[in-house]
């Protein structure tokens, strides 16, 4: 799916809960809603993991001139490629990888101890990194409790991405396991659970 060093953009602003990245143009691969991304942490070797939950394209009065005008291709390219279109990508922090004192490292599904700093690069995670991060489902809680993100949609889409990062024969088992974890977490909210499971089922059949 990806090489792991694909840059999404640079950090514009950040907090412990998440961060916003600015980038100039969208490509077919990045930035995609529900993608796993990572930024380097402040301590050496550490990384912050997140999920893209919003991609917004800002307008300006000049662009609005062309909305009803059916502009020629040259204008569209000029506006997209030459003018600095401020595309903002919002990321929900869902975990951190930290180096241990010895040689090992640990992946934790929690808010990062420190957010990334301005102008840090944000990378798309490789398939291997996605598989490693989604070996456990503890990050579900952070997504389900997110206030600003469309939590259920985000979780379902990220699980689709995590399944796609696995070999074909493992995908169904992975999604079933994820469904079980959701059933445990949302036992008190059957309506929400049903909606989420329905999204997962539709992904299984796709």
């Amino acid at each position: 799916m990806s090489e792991g060093n694909l840059r999404v953009g640079r950090v514009l602003r950040a907090s412990s809960r998440g961060f916003v990245v600015g980038c100039r143009v969208m490509t077919p691969d990045i930035p995609v809603f529900g993608s796993f991304v990572r930024a380097e942490g402040l301590s050496p070797g550490s990384e912050i993991y997140g999920l893209i939950y919003d991609v917004s394209v800002e307008d300006d009065p000049f662009v609005r001139q062309f909305i009803g005008a059916d502009p020629p291709d040259e204008i569209v390219k000029d506006q997209r490629e030459n003018r600095q279109i401020p595309i903002e990508v919002s990321v929900l922090a869902v975990g951190a990888r930290q180096c241990l004192d010895g040689d090992g490292e640990t992946m934790r599904h929690c808010l990062p101890p420190q957010p990334p700093v301005t102008l840090d690069w944000l990378y798309q995670c490789s398939d291997e990194q996605v598989r490693a991060f989604t070996a456990r489902f503890d990050y579900f809680r952070l997504v389900l409790e997110a206030r600003d993100a469309p939590a259920d949609e985000l979780l379902a889409t990220s699980l689709r991405a995590a399944a796609a990062a696995r070999p074909k024969h493992e995908r169904e088992a992975f999604l079933v396991e994820a469904g079980r974890e959701l059933a445990r977490l949302l036992a008190g909210d059957p309506v929400r659970l049903e909606g989420l499971l329905r999204q997962l089922r539709s992904e299984e059949t796709e």
Partner: protein, 389 residues
């Protein structure tokens, strides 16, 4: 808030009434002017022999005054190159004495499907040799002249680099370099000749060149009509008050059909006569209705040198390409709007640049200091504080 808006209420109301009454007066003047335009439409040849330039009246060409020239077919493919400049004036109250000229340009190849080439090129003047001309600080008109030269040079460079094909190079405003008459004749000559050298380069490249003025306020055709109403007597025209004095030419030409241009005239500017004409670049102009069908007129003034307007293909290309460009975004050529955007130095950019200058001075062990006036302005203009409720 220092501006006490409540004290302006009555004045603003009076201004509104004054403008409404002026508009009614305008309507009568427009009727008179259009009547004269028709009445004297064929007197171009006779008026050309009169001293029209001496009363700052447009000089007629062979075209009847009142015949609109419809929009030619817009070519499928052509290149439209625009350049525009902006500047930071030297500030003797600032941390250092310098000026900055930033020229933006856009090369737009219609019908190519290519991304237009956008460029912004800043130039900083800070040496004694750069900052002073004949002992005068390069500011005001001196800096405007340098900016105009930088714009036309950029256009000439881009035209020279452009592969052959129909190409139009456009600046905002005028092709007539505005040099103050108080300067010496040698100085004026040197500056204007530098400008004309760039027009020569554009001509040699095979491109056409034009200047575009949005909502022009010139009153040279109305002055010509006044002269015509006096039988072409320039002496009387200079003595007697022109009833159309305050009527801009564009008001007369609001009757042009969408996309059509007016007759072509020659600029009566003395610089045009003294420098441009002998060099083969006599600046001609026409008015152009940029509006689409069934829209209110949008009148612009377009200037081009003689070698452009006397070449039917060049003239048609200038006419059609400006209308095509202006209709993209509504009333103003797209490439010029982008060149302006690329040249514009915004407040935050200016602050960032001033910080760069300060840092550079500190690194060079120079302690930058604002003048006391600039220092107090920096304190008082950052927004007045209010008492918290």
């Amino acid at each position: 808030m220092t501006l006490e808006l409540n004290k302006l209420t009555a004045q603003v109301q009076a201004m509104g009434q004054e403008l409404a009454s002026r508009r009614r007066e305008y309507a009568d003047l427009v009727t008179l002017a259009r009547g004269w335009l028709t009445e004297y439409a064929d007197q171009g040849e006779r008026l050309r022999r009169s001293e029209a330039a001496s009363v700052r009246a447009a000089i007629p060409t062979g075209e009847p005054f009142d015949i609109p020239h419809p929009l030619p077919a817009i070519p499928e493919r052509f290149t439209f190159i625009a350049a525009d400049g902006s500047q930071i004036q030297p500030d003797r109250h600032g941390a250092a004495l310098y000026y900055l000229i930033n020229v933006g340009s856009l090369v737009y190849r219609r019908g190519s499907g290519e991304t237009p080439e956008a460029k912004s090129e800043p130039a900083l003047g800070y040496t004694e040799a750069n900052l002073y001309e004949s002992g005068r600080l390069v500011t005001g008109n001196l800096l405007d002249v340098r900016r105009d030269l930088a714009e036309i040079t950029r256009l000439a460079d881009l035209c020279a680099a452009e592969p052959s094909g129909p190409t139009v190079a456009v600046v905002d405003g005028t092709l007539l370099l505005w040099v103050l008459e108080e300067r010496s004749a040698e100085w004026q000559h040197a500056k204007v000749m530098t400008y004309l050298d760039q027009l020569n380069r554009i001509r040699e490249s095979g491109a056409a060149v034009a200047a575009f003025t949005s909502r022009p306020r010139r009153a040279e055709v109305t002055q010509l009509l006044h002269l015509a109403s006096l039988g072409g007597d320039a002496g009387r025209a200079s003595q007697e008050t022109n009833p159309l004095k305050r009527l801009p030419d564009r008001a007369v030409f609001e009757m042009l059909p969408p996309g059509a241009r007016s007759a072509i005239f020659i600029s009566p500017s003395s610089i045009n006569h003294e420098y441009y004409q002998p060099a083969g670049h006599a600046v001609h102009f026409f008015y152009l209705n940029l509006a689409a069908e069934e829209r209110d007129p949008v009148i612009a003034r377009v200037e081009s040198p003689a070698w452009v307007v006397e070449d039917a293909d060049h003239l048609a290309l200038v006419h059609a390409s400006i209308v095509a460009q202006a209709r993209i975004a509504g009333g103003y050529p797209y490439a010029l709007a982008r060149a302006d955007e690329l040249a514009f130095i915004g407040g935050s950019e200016r602050e960032a640049f001033e910080e760069m200058v300060t840092t550079s001075l500190l690194r060079a062990s120079v302690r930058p200091a604002l003048s006391p006036k600039a220092y107090y302005k920096s304190l008082t203009r950052q927004g007045r504080r209010r008492h918290r409720v």
